[in-house]
Symmetry: C2
């Protein structure tokens, strides 16, 4: 398992409720791929959404996002983290 | 105060120690601009580094990053967050 940051580029105008619904759609099926979506942040103005996940691979992250109806535009492993 | 996600594109090969040093350089001066860098994630392979901060403006985030020696390539407000 590893951490991934994926980015959606085209979610302009997304509301808090839509972000919650999209995240819940991921959470509902994430176990099928041993993925866990931990947090997501959205900028309604630019349409960027960033999702932090714990997953076996980038492909597993994308399969969940695709099935939930929101394919990611970028997925990067982020093995390093500081706090 | 608002949340920001900034992205660095060109930190290929960054190590855990270098990420820690870069983050500490931000933390050392962030109070000058009422910014707080909460977390940072790095992908040494693509060179992407994502930083989550709490700040009065994107310009304040950039001023700290510039003074610390690592200007951000993108800075997006992220007013929406789910967990």
């Amino acid at each position: 398992m590893a951490k991934y940051m994926d980015v959606h580029h085209s979610m302009k105008g997304i509301t808090e409720e839509q972000l919650r619904e999209a995240h819940n759609a991921d959470l509902a099926i994430e176990k099928d791929e041993q993925v866990h979506f931990e947090m997501a942040w959205a900028d309604p103005e630019s349409g960027r959404v960033y999702c932090l996940s714990d997953a076996p691979s980038a492909e597993a992250v994308q399969r969940i996002h695709e099935r939930a109806g929101h394919k990611a535009d970028e997925i990067h492993p982020v093995p390093l983290m500081v706090q």
